[in-house]
Symmetry: C2
Subunit: 420 residues, 2 copies
């Protein structure tokens, strides 16, 4: 987080129109912070000092745990500070108390980082879908479980073995209990439901199962049904106004968007009455995605504090005064891999000639597929190139199309391989 604040300081200042300054920080290991280049004189051993500090406008709570964090956050709100927290357990346990204090003190509390760090799902529910009557949330909110399930399914290896691997790779904690027993997912589902339906609820009341007892054979049987097993957090608003909540392993179609979410990734499906299903997927946890969410909340609060109209950063999220003209890369200089379909008359040697025209301009070939004779006796040759400047490619294609053996204009399309 300090990395983002440091590396992007100028950009962030440009965006918010205000300068964010680190007034102080609390840590049990001040020496470690000095190593990071922080001013050790700003370090306090007691986070309460920050919660009460007259020069602190916004308190960021990333200490974890519940009791101390609760006291610090409540004190900060009572002292007129806004708060940003990444502490999901805190909000699942003490959310009602903290949200009430935030409202009573007229202070803001940002907690985007607390659920699916890298996915702005809090924002989605709280703001973007505010006009929507939400009917259903189906979510993969635990990256550890999704990593384990993905590898149980792909490699047909048992739970215990994949868990150990996940631990050694850092995808699972040394004590993974709360992840694998579904408890973490229930925490998150409770928070998502609070935001989706504006209710209070106790995460402990959610029927919850984990994946720790999942036999490997189920993975194989699910595959025969063209399904995969995911640890799903499900919420549905019933017609009678009751909420049906559950956490547990469930079968979903293997070809569905939710079924295709692989690895330590999170995905949230929100089904509303007007918009229809929206799916958002991406990194759920990790230091940088979480830090990014904390900073996004920080910027939001800084902007709202600074602005009279609530939108000082301008309609695009950047102040108008700072929005310069973009410098565009001309098409000819853009770099891309390409698909070419060359249509030649049925004569030998066309591939060698075409490859020559590409090679002359430094364009290398990734794949060639020569097809059978097409309509009118023409022979189509499909070439995938490696990345090259479009201008060079245009020249090569012009040279190819001028060859006497060529029958039709060559078809050219970009290839975009690196997508999730």
């Amino acid at each position: 987080m300090l990395h983002i604040l440091g590396a992007h300081a100028r950009e962030l200042e440009r965006r918010t129109g205000t300068r964010l300054e680190l007034t102080g920080f609390a840590s049990r290991t001040p020496a470690r912070w000095s190593e990071l280049g922080l001013d050790a004189t700003k370090c306090s051993a007691d986070p309460m000092d920050l919660a009460r500090h007259p020069n602190v406008d916004i308190l960021i709570e990333v200490m974890g745990g519940v009791e101390t964090a609760r006291n610090v956050v409540l004190e900060a709100l009572a002292s007129g500070k806004d708060v940003v927290t990444a502490n999901k357990a805190l909000l699942a346990e003490k959310g009602d108390e903290i949200f009430k204090a935030s409202a009573e003190n007229g202070r803001m509390i940002g907690f985007e980082a607390s659920v699916c760090g890298g996915l702005p799902i809090i924002h989605l529910l709280k703001r973007s879908l505010a006009a929507e009557r939400i009917q259903r949330i189906v979510a993969i909110v635990n990256g550890t479980c999704n990593y384990i399930l993905t590898h149980m399914i792909a490699d047909r290896r048992p739970f215990d073995e994949v868990l150990k691997e996940a631990q050694s790779l850092g995808y699972a904690e040394a004590d993974p209990t709360l992840d694998i027993n579904g408890g973490d997912s229930a925490h998150k589902l409770a928070l998502l439901s609070m935001l989706g339906w504006g209710v209070r609820l106790d995460h402990a009341a959610i029927p919850t199962a984990g994946i720790e007892a999942l036999p490997l054979v189920e993975v194989a049987y699910a595959a025969e049904l063209k399904m995969v097993i995911k640890l799903l957090a499900c919420a549905r608003m019933e017609d009678d106004g009751r909420l049906a909540l559950s956490v547990g392993p469930a079968l979903v179609p293997a070809g569905s968007v939710i079924g295709q979410v692989h690895g330590a990734v999170n995905a949230v499906l929100v089904d509303g009455d007007h918009v229809g299903p929206i799916v958002m997927s991406g990194a759920g946890a990790g230091q940088m995605p979480t830090a990014n969410a904390v900073v996004a909340d920080l910027l939001d609060i800084a902007r709202l504090r600074a602005a009279e109209t609530g939108d000082a950063a301008g309609p695009t999220g950047f102040p108008e005064s700072s929005r310069g003209q973009a410098t565009l890369v001309p098409r000819e200089e853009q770099v891309a891999a390409n698909y070419l379909r060359i249509t030649a008359m049925d004569v030998p040697g066309i591939l060698a000639e075409a490859a020559g025209a590409l090679a002359e301009r430094g364009i290398s070939i990734a794949q060639v597929h020569q097809h059978g004779r097409g309509m009118g006796g023409s022979v189509p040759v499909v070439i995938l190139t490696h990345e090259a400047k479009q201008g060079d490619l245009d020249q090569a294609v012009r040279a190819i199309d001028a060859m006497p053996k060529i029958k039709d204009k060559t078809v050219v399309m970009r290839v975009v391989e690196e997508v999730p």
Copy 2:
């Protein structure tokens, strides 16, 4: 939009803490509006009347077109009104002028509905990813083209034929030119780039190709390469600070998330330096998704106008005072389809007995798969049930597990078939 405002009036009032009132509206066909139950005396023939009306706080522009819309929006901003617009062409053509006027007058302009109506992509770029240095945007932003391409690929039918079908089904306009030639995608890419990188740029400068000349044979050749063709809008920030923008048909891996976006759906991939790739997919256009986005902007502005701290709606997006305790559906009453794996000793009749135990409790069977002899001579039987109350299912499973032929405890998991 009036439908959402009407149907959800109480909910919206609860969310914003303020009452939204329709002060007036402008239309060339007032008679039509009377039919919808609107007060015809509030109707003006000239939208300028609303832009200048002293009792209007927020002007909603959904008239379309560029010139008149521009004049009305500028007049409204100059008269101290905030503006919500769904007009993508207006912003692509006159965005710089309108954004400047919005900033100079200290007024807000909401335009979530202008790009991918049903997907809150504006919000994502402007707020949630404000701390992120965005590296790449790859997007399917034209539902018409994605519908046509999906059916060209799935049915191997040529462009013209599928276009006609799309027109008859309402997925394509009578004049689809701007959709199929990529112009609409270029408009949207220009807006997304303004938000992603805080720049000004002219949509006409984006190298743009459409799908109108795409030969059907390309679809087949792409399939041989395990790829599909999508109309992609791509933006990439180069290391030298230049933006590489392009719109055109492109090949993407068939198994990728972007390759799996089927039908009249939009999807936007945003790649940042800390969060990694986020993909959001959902309905891009349509009356209700667009209306929902307009109302979300309206609520955002109403909330910001009403609040001193900028967050009157409370930390959850609902005022704390209104947030009651949720009534949960107990697990036993929750309705779900289920996967059962029954493990019997190798004796005949177990399927009939198990089916009987299910039928007695009104649970019907969707599929049965009897497997070969497993370890220790046991025979696994996999049953998928139709939807049933979990309590009834629990009883049936207890009855089954008590049968003398049963060897192991039956494994039970939910089945969630209805996911996108």
